[in-house]
Amino acid sequence: MTIPGFPDADPLGGLIGGVLIGISAAIMLLGAGRIAGVSGLLARATGIADSGPPWIMALNFIIGLVLGGLAYALVFGPATVTYSPSLPLLAAAGLLVGFGTRMGSGCTSGHGVCGMSRLSRRSITATMVFMASGIATVAIANALGWGW
């Protein structure tokens, strides 16, 4: 299934994957009473965050994420991935993502999926800001010839 004008888009795969992500977050919310926010759970699992869910619980979610990626690859073969060829750029990106998600209390999953669906003003604000910032960054990076 393709969208006219956007031959590279994968709307069906996106929708199916999105529903799975929603089911996962719903299991966390209705089952464990927690927000499925990956940056917060990662900070907890690595011992960086002092508050949040029990350490073992956060670690289980993070291990599950890795296992989920592996399970997909075992069944359907390796997914297509194209990384930036520049390791310094990836290091800078990682630093910004790590620092920014802690400072802003969430990322695409916590604010974008869980908070926006809760109609949290904080999460809607954060999501609009990080999307705008991402769009501006890509535009600037492309203009500077850092695109890949």
């Binding site: 888009a9 996106g14 299991i27 990662l42 997914a79 990106a93 003003r121």
Partner: protein, 139 residues
């Protein structure tokens, strides 16, 4: 039971991220490349996830407690401050530069063909979290 449920949730999340193509930084970057060769796939991922979670948020207030815990642990902060906005600006910049956010980065650790690339990003991301803790603890 609680541990099994959390593990299961993580597994489904990881499969969802991979099925949707979000573990591919080039595709995420394509979504953020609004003024270039735009790829709307991420909007469908968000849409699918938001529809399911919107239903979950309708069910949640009708439950006395979650299935495997005694109480809900939900963020109660409502204040929009500089930390929220500043953090989102920095996160968005990193997201645009690398095409990776925390979920997809972790979900592709086990399968990435280029382990140096994903390893560099994940280590730097944990380093950034640590740096945030060290710099805010002083104040």
């Amino acid at each position: 039971m609680r541990q099994l449920l959390t593990l299961l949730s993580g597994i489904i999340f990881g499969i969802g991220l991979t099925v949707s193509g979000m573990t591919d930084p080039a595709r995420v970057r394509g979504f953020l490349d609004l003024f270039g060769d735009w790829d709307p796939t991420l909007a469908f991922v968000m849409g699918g996830a938001l529809i399911v979670m919107a239903v979950a948020w309708v069910i949640q207030p009708r439950m006395v407690k979650p299935l495997v815990d005694t109480t809900f642990h939900l963020p109660g902060t409502r204040h929009i401050d500089g930390k929220l906005v500043g953090g989102a600006v920095l996160f968005g910049a990193g997201w645009g530069l690398g095409g990776l956010c925390p979920g997809p980065a972790i979900a592709s650790i086990g399968t990435a063909p280029d382990i140096a690339a994903i390893g560099t990003f994940v280590l730097a991301m944990v380093g950034g979290m640590l740096l945030h803790k060290l710099t805010t603890a002083k104040n």
